[in-house]
Symmetry: C2
């Protein structure tokens, strides 16, 4: 009986967890860490804000100086942002700008709009006074540590570094961050019929699109990719290519991914090359991407994807990408939405079908191309994978389906 | 009256359309074009598939050779993928592999499972015969051009280059692609209180997080970023920084973005530096990110974002990123979902509020931090922007809201 999609994904997670969890960390400048996963818990080396500061342009006051009916206070030296102000004397109000440090003694801010006069006096024009309404302690003050306190957890290991996370580390004064060293994948496409784009295309040959499609997918997911080019359909040739790129003791790659040669035909080069290795070739109850290889080659984790471009993309999106998200915290999982079918469709019983579709702004999803796994132009029009579970064989227009946004 | 969010976004689109539409193109190797926008329409230089091929492992036959009841045919030379087969003689069936070229004369494939015997004969064992059921013309044949025909539009100008689009170009034999030269942004943070991460933090100072946060956002959106560091609060200093990075005739940058110094306080360096330039400083009916600057500086498009980190991120996500998507076709718009509030919230009347939230797998969205625009730790926990329109002042737990996934 074919393995379920979820069970195979779990096998991929188990295959990769050991080797990826053991990856060392690497310190990178903040911006180079964009999209990578934090290797360690980061604790705040200072509080944010580092000091109590004003939330408004206005007057910093001692709240006790102003009774309920308001009071007239003498105007102190203004406090611009960035200055270390002198303590505020009783009976004074200090003009203060947004973000500027509260003077010692001050515990509230009255916004300039509520002052009379409601403009700041010229600092050179001699002693001014201002009439201010009462303000309870804390009014328009951002307390030190109100965003995060020194010594508390800022970001947990595994967090994916996006703009906001990197901005937080910068606010904490950090210039570099320890991220997990990325997973390095050896990518080999196979097939006597496959030639590199730009070379001569003779009868019976096709250009290799799997290599580009998968390398781009892997780069997008934060992997380092080693391209080993195209292997022909001779097992000895494939073995040579693989062993050229992996070392016997300390492997230079964390994972091998091949395309093609995993089904039951007469010339299945990947199956044949893996005969002496602990690799399973098995059907997964999924369409496309049913035939899959999984195991280790000379001790290096190995995944064998089928040879059609759509099958390759679906294999990556359904198995390898989610496994990386789960183990490494990066890439981000694909956004999952519910959408309504713009057209009826049928699906084979017992197989989880992954169709390519376009989710339109009206929330309806149209199919791009048929079920055929060679339709790379149709794939290039799609923005979503439409998930049809194995127990569903027929859906009507308007029925709700799960879609994964690409 | 403050400008609406939609009206300001449209102003940003109009400001940038001219300069970005005029950008020249650049030919890049396919994988370097990942995430960029196609500069030209691409027409297919060949059909896909380039030749009729088999969808199954099986026997290529002349359908006319097999009556309804089936027939015994002589087995011809096998056709592996990548081979240019000889024409199929009447009365013969050729073993054929998935993806292999259909022999001239053959017009259908019978899968190996339906053959008797249901295995391929040893080619060296002399003339074999096989019993096959009837197959209508076209059965399990992928016609030449069934995915895309030579000379038709493969990808339209403006298409964002993801793995599938690059895979299609590779399948068409292309090694490079013309993409739009990316927009180059000069990014300047301002403020006497701001110091570079890693430097000494004296009283009243904070580390610059805006620069990292916005540069990361811009890199994610496919922009080239020129960082001009931090300008102090002297207009002459800011003017020097700006003019060092833009040329009078042929500008080295397409857009200037500053942070801070755009509201109505006493030390608003960006406002002051722009006094002689056609720049508007105006309130947008949005919170945070209300004060915005927009215009040109020495002829270069200019956007002035407010100085708080959350305001910067919201300004980028609400105005600049959508404008780039609309004009350039890249970056991809943020996925927009409907979610249910995990808690009640209030919002100021007449202002479009953008709250930071976490969308949980159960479809509920929790707020991260309050409305305060300095809360960068809270921002770093969020995975979504929660959109509260200006005419909504109160929402209950369970109410539906629009969220943009970050």
């Amino acid at each position: 009986m074919p393995r379920s999609v979820a069970a195979h994904r779990q096998e991929v997670v188990e295959l990769l967890t050991g080797v990826l969890a053991g990856k060392d960390k690497i310190a990178l400048p903040l911006l180079d860490a964009l999209g990578r996963a934090l290797a360690v818990d980061v604790y705040a080396p200072l509080s944010l804000p580092p000091f109590a500061n004003s939330q408004m342009d206005g007057f910093a006051v001692r709240s006790a100086d102003i009774p309920d009916g308001g009071a007239e206070l003498r105007v102190a030296e203004p406090v611009p942002a960035g200055a270390a102000p002198a303590a505020l004397k009783p009976g004074f109000a200090a003009p203060i700008m947004t973000g500027a440090m509260m003077p010692a003694g001050a515990d509230a801010v009255v916004p300039i709009e509520k002052a009379s006069p409601n403009t700041f006096p010229d600092p050179d024009a001699g002693q001014a006074v201002v009439e201010l309404p009462a303000a309870p302690p804390g009014t328009y003050v951002r307390d030190s540590g109100s965003d995060i306190r020194k010594g508390t957890l800022a970001l947990a290991a595994g967090t994916r570094m996006g703009p906001a996370q990197l901005g937080l580390l910068a606010a904490l004064g950090m210039r570099t961050v320890d991220v997990r060293r990325p997973c390095r994948v050896l990518l080999v496409t196979t097939g006597d019929e496959v030639v590199e784009p730009g070379e001569e295309l003779t009868a019976g040959k096709i250009f290799d699109s799997n290599g580009t499609l998968l390398e781009a997918s892997m780069l997008q997911a934060g992997l380092d990719v080693v391209r080993a080019g195209i292997s022909d359909d001779h097992p000895s040739g494939l073995l040579r290519v693989l062993r050229r790129h992996i070392g016997p003791a300390d492997s230079m790659v964390d994972l091998i991914v091949t395309t093609g040669g995993v089904s039951k035909g007469a010339y299945e080069v990947v199956r044949q090359a893996m005969e002496d290795q602990p690799v399973d070739f098995l059907p997964v109850a999924m369409q496309p991407g049913g035939p899959q290889g999984l195991g280790t080659f000379d001790g290096v984790p190995f995944l064998g994807f089928p040879g059609n471009p759509v099958s390759c993309l679906v294999s990556f999106e359904m198995f390898l990408r989610p496994a990386l998200s789960q183990i490494l915290g990066t890439p981000a999982p694909r956004p999952v939405l519910r959408a309504r079918l713009a057209e009826p469709l049928t699906s084979p019983e017992g197989k989880h079908q992954v169709r390519r579709g376009t989710l339109d702004p009206d929330g309806k999803v149209r199919m791009e191309g048929g079920a055929g796994s060679h339709l790379v132009h149709a794939l290039a029009r799609a923005n979503a994978l439409v998930q049809i579970p194995g127990d569903v064989t027929e859906l009507a227009e308007g029925d709700e389906v799960e879609v994964w946004m690409l």
